[in-house]
Subunit: 416 residues, 2 copies
């Protein structure tokens, strides 16, 4: 029987091997006393197994305050645990409850983070994964050159009418943008009802497409209840849109999968709320594991933050997130990493130097809208920044060579 493997970064004041076994027990057959009817055969078939332990350092203070304050030292390690696929078959919530369930509550641990998941081969037959991914996103936006898909976010996040939004979209499509998205805070408030916004925005996008042959991808934020999301989804399809955005953590796994399964729109996955699951180095889930779950669900594009972002995350962490997305899973399941947060082009050279990829959706908000030459200058500057990046130029060098990008550097170079 196939097995699924998960790697955990753990910390415990007790013996690492024993603690790992408690984890495996709790997440398969366990309770606190021996139960009549629990045979050895049954345990052998269904119990989780500790496959590997890599011992790391010991420390004098626990990673998580509140419990076990009185031990001399806390031992860290990477622990690989496996489960028979038979335990949950192809039920994703059951898989999550197994890999990320009660184990975080175990007394044995003063730190526990799910670092990676190794999916068994048969998953490829059961989960369709992203219908569009990198190739589909490029095809629909018509970006075939060696540069990222350039995107932006409608700001202010909230408060604009559909007409105001459409005017902004007009400005942005005229400026040559490839992709635009609603803000994750924007769904269907009274000032901008969903359908009215779709109508107003698609009119602008279609008109521009008729004129120029370039159809800008717009990610309408459909996040809501299941029925409402399906209605929103159908409305976007009916109006000729090709993308919908979902706040993954707010909607949840089952709801997001239901939407992805419709298969007609590119699904832009926003990870807002992610900090809660990842910000502590020894609690929650690492992005390597997280993005695999959403690829399985069928998300086509997923947020990875950006180099020199306005959030807390380090560049190293962002780079490893991008690399995780670009690593094939089960031989495919491509997902387009969405780089955003405080981006204006100045981060392009470093992003390319460290990831060596242009398979990105590169999002700039203020970096486009507030460019000294207006949004058009902003989009041109972004493209220049990436041309420079791919050619190995530094920001300083590119600022001299490209006028529009030079103005970005002048305006934003000190703000970030």
């Amino acid at each position: 029987m196939e097995r699924i493997k998960a790697t955990y970064y753990i910390e415990t004041p007790f013996d690492i091997e024993k603690s790992a076994k408690v984890l495996a027990g709790e997440q398969s057959t366990g309770t606190f006393v021996k139960i009549p009817g629990e045979t050895a055969e049954l345990k052998e078939r269904f119990a989780a197994r500790v496959e590997q332990i890599r011992y790391l350092e010991s420390v004098s203070q626990p990673a998580m305050p509140g419990t076990h304050a009185d031990f001399p030292s806390y031992h860290r390690g990477m622990v690989e645990v496996s489960w028979s696929v038979e335990n949950f078959a192809y039920n994703l919530p059951a898989l999550i409850s197994t890999l990320q369930g009660n184990l975080y509550e175990l007394k044995q641990f003063t730190g526990l983070k799910l670092m990676d998941i190794e999916m068994p081969a048969s998953y490829a037959a059961h989960f369709k994964g992203p219908r569009f991914g990198i190739e589909g996103s490029r095809k629909l936006t018509g970006v075939n050159e060696n540069r990222p898909v350039m995107g932006t976010i409608i700001k202010p996040s909230i408060g604009m009418t559909p007409e105001q939004t459409a005017r902004l979209v007009q400005t942005l499509v005229n400026a040559g943008i490839d992709f635009i998205k609603d803000d994750e805070l924007m769904t269907s408030p009274s000032n901008s009802p969903f359908k009215a916004r779709v109508d107003a925005v698609m009119r602008v996008i279609d008109e521009y497409a008729d004129k120029t042959g370039k159809k800008v991808m717009y990610a309408f934020n459909i996040s809501d209840g299941i029925d409402e999301m399906l209605r929103n989804y159908e409305y976007v399809c009916a109006k000729g849109g090709n993308c919908a955005m979902i706040s993954l953590n707010s909607v949840g796994l089952s709801g997001t999968k239901k939407i992805c399964d419709q298969g007609e729109l590119v699904i832009h996955g926003h990870r807002n709320g992610w900090g809660m699951m990842n910000r502590h180095p020894l609690l929650g889930i690492d992005f390597s594991a997280y993005q695999k779950l959403w690829r399985l669900v069928g998300v086509d594009q997923i947020h990875v933050n950006g180099i020199q972002n306005k959030f807390w995350e380090s560049d190293d962490s962002v780079v490893s997130s991008i690399k995780a997305c670009l690593k094939p899973m089960l031989g495919g399941y491509t997902v387009l990493p969405v780089v955003s947060s405080g981006q204006w082009g100045g981060q392009a050279p470093e992003t390319y130097r460290r990831t060596k990829t242009t398979d990105l959706l590169y999002m700039a908000g203020g970096g486009i809208m507030a460019h000294p030459d207006g949004p058009e200058g902003g989009v041109v500057a972004l493209k220049q920044a990436w041309e420079a990046a791919v050619n190995g130029m530094s920001v300083e060098h590119a600022a001299k060579k490209y006028a529009a990008f030079g103005k970005s550097v002048k305006k934003f170079g000190s703000e970030v």
Copy 2:
């Protein structure tokens, strides 16, 4: 316009008031530069407001490692922020993205936890909430006395056939149990397909009900994709079951609401994965806020861990979770707190002493099954423990007065 209020426990090396304003800005109108078109009127109407700040202690080390390691001190405070309901209307995922979205990622904070939410009155008209709650759960299980509904979990968690499960259910209903649930790891594995399990279990429950008039409530774990959950749900209804269990965090908000909206079954909400969101004192979400969201969604029963549990959580935290559930929300929305984890009756006196309630679903697994007189003795002992608790007896006193409970104390008293 009505406002929704959220209280955050924050830590920052910067000025608390300024940091709170950054939070409010990020979660409403914000981007990193001023945007053309962002008028003062628009800001006034849609911007989040910092309503109140309660300054707490300063500390010398940040709560969250990794950033800002070089500041002399870190200031803590409780901050109340409000948003106009207009921003997200009655869209729950949009509300979550606002209250629990990107704010966890802000550089300004070295700790941030959502502590409580104050729902506006109009939510009562838009969210039906729990259809059964405390009263409905009592009515369906026929527990009208002044004691908790007594429940247990099928163990081993996984591996048994439907017939083995049904035999165990037979033993448990004969023993006088009120409520039984699937383990959260058990959904529809090859060894126990969902429908076959429902068939086998309901046969036993119905037969017992026909004979005695007592219909035991069984929470079938329907957690899965949306369509699969709806099918499972309908199957439980068709077979005369009255309860379904959902792993709330694994299924997610939108999927769970879709199921609750069906309105025919009691929804038993399992919070596995919760430790990830709450285990750190300065990261994530407090149970007070968490349980309100699920009551809004319509969950009837929600897990709160238990006194002297086998997990990391303190008794104080468990007690405050129980109290949070029992506090009316918008004048109602009752939810039955599910006490579980290492419970065997010995914790009843302390649970009652600290909460003064019997409106609980009190779950014991091994505490029932491994009782020296078998499950029947286990259930009798639980009821005795609660009779003693309500009468203010100590464990020692009750152990002398009640023979079955006395045996529990002898067997489990030293294990927990």
